[in-house]
Symmetry: D2
Subunit: 302 residues, 4 copies
């Protein structure tokens, strides 16, 4: 045969699920966006239109809801892992399953300093994320858990330089020893073991990232990212690797000299596009192999 | 002549401006989106392509930057008003100016409980807004200030009903005495006088809105909005009117009975579209006339 | 009583509806986004949580679907008007109804020059819009129909100037006699009578707008808009008024002189923000009153 | 050392560039979004804040503009390849460069059947894309070119089934032998050789994809994708592999039976989320290795 079906996968993307814990007067809520993705013995659906092995994406959606009800979602990674294991264990044609979950954070309404039992306000810009990947079943089953966040928007109004860079024919940028540094961080960290005190770990890593961004005197966004990544590994032995993607959200000093004004680092234009994009991975030198942990549906989409 | 130029206005929209106060080691930042809009004697630009009366939108942008530098932006309404007054007072052909400003909130990075002096994290989903409108100059000058917020996302996991409604041939909805109520609130309040302790007022009104949403046992989103609006007027004598626009962000209970599960108000689908849209205005019975306070560029755009 | 419920309205927004005509082998499709909005005797829902007069937004959604099935959507304005009249005529507490509909255009797949009977590709960027407003019932009933489009993205690579403008202290812009002019047009036109050959009229007005944008040598975007609006009225007696909202999507010539290159109007940066925003209305001098024709839910939202 | 900087890359993303050809009265325009990304000897910037090897992203942006001026952009792939080769050949520390370019399509304004020489309307929803990747320099230099499109929105109103699928405890979906099939296609194809008649090839492949979507009687979206991919390879010998990513944009038949109406495949709800997501790659069995051709910045971002 001349043409080959190579990589293929399918699933249900973006099931928007809110789980409410209401067994006590003080409710808890979890607001999730769940995507499931299956790999396995599905070639006949492509080659012959035969669905005998295809578990409908609608069933995957129902499973996401049912697991949220029966097993709960109090720890994001535990929920994602249970769902991925179910597909790998219980659905015959599945060889690997990946479950990605975003969580949107809410905080409890405060009334005169007290928590309201069942009213909430969306908080923060950032989204907590996790990806659980399960391959195989039985004793050979392998599992990877990646946690992370995105849209964590950070800004330093000083403590950032950019100088001493390579120059070519097209270089017109001036050096600076005091600039605004801002980014909308995406961070994802891979766990050595598929278990942990997930919520506490998330809170701690988020804080380490923010603290390093704040306290490192930055000679380049690259340097900030390296220090942020290294600090996370230093603080948490169970993290094998962390990957960081950081747009350099440019803040340009507005030139008001033609209006007779001297703008000494006080008024900036927050530009939309283009932006620098700095990306790196920091890992332990003895980190276990990443396997498919970092794969994502976007590998098909560019 | 058969055809008439009726309403017309022009300006510079969405100047993204960050103002940093750096005279002390502890910096302050304000992150704004400024839109200016002028009305006046501009017909010749339309009818004859004559720009003699047209202050370029580029100059309006520069003015927004220059005022941020010289006059500061510590109180959003004060900045918007100064800018609008400048256009009305100093630019000959202008008969009315409107300045709309959005502010994105940042919180200071915390390190071991202490504030960092120059590192910040974007906080909250909501955007603080203001519109200052100035008509005329000299003793006849009139001024309106509207403050507000948008994208304040609220959810109650209980304490909301919807029953006893009108039924027609197309009504299939079941009554409910316990549902999730969620919205992404837009609120705008008009001040009786163009002065105030703007920042404190904003914080207080935001809290009143949230508290009422939380504590009113809701028989309809309409009722919640009325109580929210009324409470704002009751708490602040200087507010003449408040307008509320609230999508009913539907959370549908997922039916898992076919999967053999009994979902008693625990797992919901957060739907995107369509959504209910409930809107109302609450005013003092002795409120001064609104004039052009509520006008917006969108009146041209539908 | 000290506080007054003033303006209020409610409805179902953004019902995404696809209607397929399949009575012949050659199918027709219409892809709509329908929003309904009711005004009337609904104060008790706000003041007392009493829904006796409130037709659920869910029923409004069902009605939008049912009318699409029974009455069809082949002419957008006819569908919107039928729906609005139904609410005003048949739902007791309703005093006024407004129905807004967006239509997304599809074109038929071509195979070797022939139309495919049931396969389609989304075409164009622009969205066709309509708003039907109905007040009262019986002989006193009044009706307004507004049609329009948005996101019609236009660009001229020459034939546009901007010079001779007013200068103030903040003016630094250079005059230009050859620039790129680009916009993403919103146009809405009000019909004198609530009937017409809607689809043909839409196609004609869209073409008039584009032609005028192309052929008017522009001394300002303002002038282009006036000529575009005037030409629509001149071409179609049944149009009472047209309103145009046009961002000036700035294309800045890139200065490459520091790289030793002379960029003579060939390479531009297409900037995102800020943008000029030019808006005007052109009407017949004998146009009937607009009444509530131009009102929109956004009047609550700013 | 315990921590290792592993993968890292940086560049300038989303330079929005419009190139106008104006040497003849009949202008040509190309509207691009250019992203550059460099890999190489940049570790010192991360580890020590030393920029000696770092070509600023601002210089990369200038280079994108300068190449658009000097070399032109008439064939997207040729431009991307020239830019990537320049970084790999001329910037010392660079070991590999990847240039991604999106192109937005415009069509010429028509006046009475004639082309207007310099006025244009944005056309179509879809975006043409390319990625050129260059590794090494001199005789060892290797090059990969991927072309593609995204946001090609397709719909069939019949000719699609979904039945005979695997059922588990969570399966509640009914089988169907006549449904609406709709997607927003992302397709990317890898060229065997880095040269070709790029514009003609793009037009042909786009048409093949659309035709296959239209004419294949679909037993599953999977089957449609396979046939689409296979047909592209069959039509063009120079294509080594094609990757397809297709959301199943669900159109749910609206149940109007409670309103007394029989909806026989005529009125559908176009749902937003969740959606099925079907992805596959089809390649020649003798395709050369893909190397880094499919890598994307998103591999860092999940």
């Amino acid at each position: 045969m001349e043409y080959v079906l190579s990589d293929h996968q399918y699933g249900k993307a973006e099931t928007r699920l809110v789980r409410i814990y209401r067994d006590a007067a003080r409710h808890q809520i979890h607001d999730l966006n769940v995507s499931t993705c299956l790999r396995g013995n599905f070639a006949d659906a492509y080659l012959h239109g035969d669905q005998a092995n295809v578990l409908p994406t609608d069933s995957q959606k129902n499973t996401a809801y049912a697991f949220a009800l029966e097993r709960g979602v109090a720890e994001l990674e535990t929920y994602a892992l249970a769902l991925a294991r179910h597909f790998a264990d219980d659905i015959g044609p599945v060889r690997a399953a990946r479950v990605e979950v975003d969580e949107y954070e809410w905080e409890r309404v405060q009334l005169a300093g007290d928590d309201h039992p069942h009213a909430f306000v969306r908080s923060g810009q950032e989204v907590r994320t996790t990806t659980a990947t399960v391959e195989g079943r039985g004793p050979e089953q392998r599992v990877w858990v990646v946690s992370g966040l995105r849209d964590l928007i950070l800004l330093k109004s000083t403590g950032s330089e950019f100088a001493g860079f390579l120059r070519d024919r097209y270089t017109t940028l001036a050096e600076t020893h005091d600039r605004v540094l801002a980014t909308s961080l995406i961070a994802r960290w891979r766990h050595t073991y598929p278990e942990g005190d997930w919520n506490a770990l998330y809170a701690s890593i988020r804080q380490v990232l923010i603290e390093q961004f704040a306290t490192v005197h930055s000679l380049a966004l690259q340097q900030s990212l390296w220090e942020m990544g290294k600090a996370v590994l230093a603080a948490h032995e169970g993290i094998a690797e962390i990957r960081l993607s950081a747009p350099n959200k440019h803040h340009f000093l507005v030139d008001l000299s033609l209006c007779g004004l001297d703008n000494r680092g006080e008024v900036f234009h927050a530009d939309d596009r283009p932006y620098g994009l700095i990306q790196c991975a920091v890992r332990r030198d003895d980190a276990p192999p990443a396997g498919p942990a970092w794969d994502a549906p976007s590998s098909f989409a560019g």
